[in-house]
Amino acid sequence: MTPLPANYKTDALARLKSAIQAIQQSQPTPQGLEELYRDCEGLCLHKFGSDVYAMAKAELETYTCQRLGEINYQPDASVLNLTTQFWAAYTQQLDMIKCVFLYLDRTYVLQSANVASLWSMGLSVVRQCLVDTGMKSKLIRLILGEVAKERDGKSADQESLLSLVQMLVDLGLSSQFFMPSLIDASRDYYARESRRLVGSLVAIQPAEESRSSSNLASTMSVPQYLAHVKLRIDEETQRAARYLNTNGKGPLLSTILTQLIEKHAERLLTTSFDAMVDAFMLADLANFYSLLSSVGKIESLKRYWVMYIKKVGLRLVQAPELDVSLVSELLALKQRLDDIMTSAFQNNGILAHALRESFEGFVNSRRNKPAQLTAKFIDQCMRSGNRSTTNEDVESLLDRVVVLFRFINDKDLFEAYYKRDLAKRLLYNKSVSIDTERSMIQKLRVEYGPGYTKRLEGMLRDMDVSSDLEGKLTNLQQAQETSGIDFHATILTQAFWPAYEPLPLVIPRDVELAQEQFVRFYNEKHNGRKLFWQPNLGTCLLKVVFDEGIKELSLTIMQGTVLLLFSEQDVLSYEQIQENTGLEGVELTRTLQSLACGKLRVLTKEPRGRDVAETDVFTFNAAFKSSHARIKIGQILLKEVENESKEVEEHIQFDRMYQVDAAIVRILKARKQADHPTLMSELPGQLKFNSTATEVKERIETLIERDYLKRDDTDPSIYHYLA
């Protein structure tokens, strides 16, 4: 190697030094880049790398401290800008300096431990200086001030902020100092804001039009607050995207959400949740849901959801005066709640489950009535004359009713009512369509299994079989001598149909003959079956001669029988009618009332009046007038309905008692012994309906008395099966 000139090192260093300074002054360097590069290379080759490095570092330090010191003295308003400018210039300069000292970076730096690259060193110089001058804290404070300004709605220099934050990141001051401070400041800011806004929440105004969330709005309603929160979140997300890296965004947003929502969740829910649901504010509820979801407060939402449903539901179910419209109200309620679930609550599983449970809870809070009313509702849908809805509408309505049916625990009661109503519809030909009937039974079958619906299906089958039989009989009648009566019979399989009281009616001889003929015909086909006539279910069509002319009267068999008595005599007393027809008491009274006291009086009564007494006398009303040729005279049915309901319920009650007994014995037989809690927990699985603890205990006691089971000698809460 050539020996060095004596002052090589000093000269070279001096040249490099002035180069640095020139760069820092934004002046062209005295030497060209090539020369400087060779200077550096030379010094490094001669093992003067450390001197070079030290010199560079010293220069950077001097420069930085001086510049930053100047900036530090400036008023706060300009510090940020000046710092930005400084940083821009500095990094540019450092870049150039790095080029000059490239050789140093690649040799000395790499070969020496604990020596940072020139770039890193340049950065750490700034970092150190910022710390030493206290500017680090100042800068952070000022930056946060700008953020607060933005949050308040004023504008801030976003470019500047971006580069400053970037600077802090590059300097490694971000995660340790800046971010925590930002999060703290954000927490405080939003804690204050939320306290102010939530503290002054007002009720929802009927026409809430202004959705503009002015940050300085003095009072807000809950929906407005939620919209405001959403806006804030959007703002902050944008801000974070603009000048925070992704690591910072998560904790920042969650801190903000905690302050704005989580801390106030209860208050918000208590204040307006119910009102929002009542007013069906889907968009706001959706907002509510997503905000609560993001802070993990769905459990709280669920609680209020449940309370609301129960409150509204119980009010509907518990008020007897609302019974008439209960089912439609319940359907409407369910529809609303379902809509909220889909549109606002994203079909959240927990809330859906809560909905089902609450619904079931209040629907069954009143025993028996929901079952009865649902059956009645379906009955009304199924009746012809229901012109308001098309077939599809009826189908979808029935689908919704079946969903309601799922919630009702008294399913056996429902079946009893349904059966009774179905019977009436079938026998009096009131169904809107047999297909609809079949479809409904099919729906019930899907819900509850074939065992549940087999009787109902049996009823429909009976009607089919009967009309088949009709056809055959008609053919036969044409070939045989008939009694002049157009006679139709429907065969009901006793097991399927509701129980009917037999009626001691003395029917006209002609009818009796027709009946006997039918029975003969039937027995030819089905030997060994016994037929019982139920005249109280039948109808007849009588041609009656009035002064005005011949009219066809559509009557019940009872009415017809009574009226036919008047074909021989014009005047008959109550007693005579009673004697000749075999009718008496309530039945007779009702029948006579329908003929003599209603709107259509084919008989007149002496004395006049609505009520029938045993001393009354009836006369055929030849003067009866009507513009119609065929008239239907209905029975007066009101009281019958009430009593029937009672009967149905009583019957079910008895039935249930035996079922409970059977279930208890079954359980104990299988287990040989069981304690009371075990028995109580197994029972619901065996029964189709709810029973109270008291009812079960009473059944247990009768079973003990009848020696089906006994109590354990030492522990009276354990029962033993007695074979």
């Binding site: 304690d675 009371h676 603890a693 008291t694 205990k697 008395e705 109590r711 009276p716």
Partner: protein, 218 residues
Amino acid sequence: MATQSSREAWFSQYQDLDRDDGKQLIGPDGFVRLCEALKYSMDGLEPLVLLWKLGAKELGTVELESWDREVRAMGVTDNAALKSAVDVVVDKFKTDLALCKDFAAYKDFYRQVFLYLRSQNQRILVETAKTALPLITNQHWLFMRFVEFLEAQGPKMTTMTRDQWNLLLDLSRSVDAKFSGYSKEEAWPSLFDDFYDWIREHPAPSPPRSIDVTARCK
């Protein structure tokens, strides 16, 4: 020296001799005479305890087999000794239901009394119960209140069941004057649920005679 024959001789003093079926037993008349001999009032607790000690299955009837067995078990040979033995038990039974050392015996006696006094297989007349219960429980507060409760039920309740009778004893050992700790969800007969409701509406005017029975019996 007690022998079979001496026991039989003793027995025969009270035996019912008017029988066609050849059964050897003391009938109601003989039993009354025995009680007189022992100086027991027929209204008191003693005759019931005596019946029970002699292993009787029915009211006022003691069969020879059980007489023999029990008299030997008691180690008594004459009326005086018999009376002493029975008196001891009566005293024990009278000391509240704190008969904890021998609670099993009392329980057996209590349940047996139902079988003596019943009107049907599993039922006893309320009128009978109202007298018997205070007697055999030495007017234990729970049974006294129960009698009040029965009074309040009026004519609609004419009988009570064996189950209810038996479980009253268990009840007396499970609850305090306020029936705290009673739960309708447990296996108690439903009559007791009504009793519970009634107790809540009619709190006792004075503290119960026996306190802390349950503690002493643990």
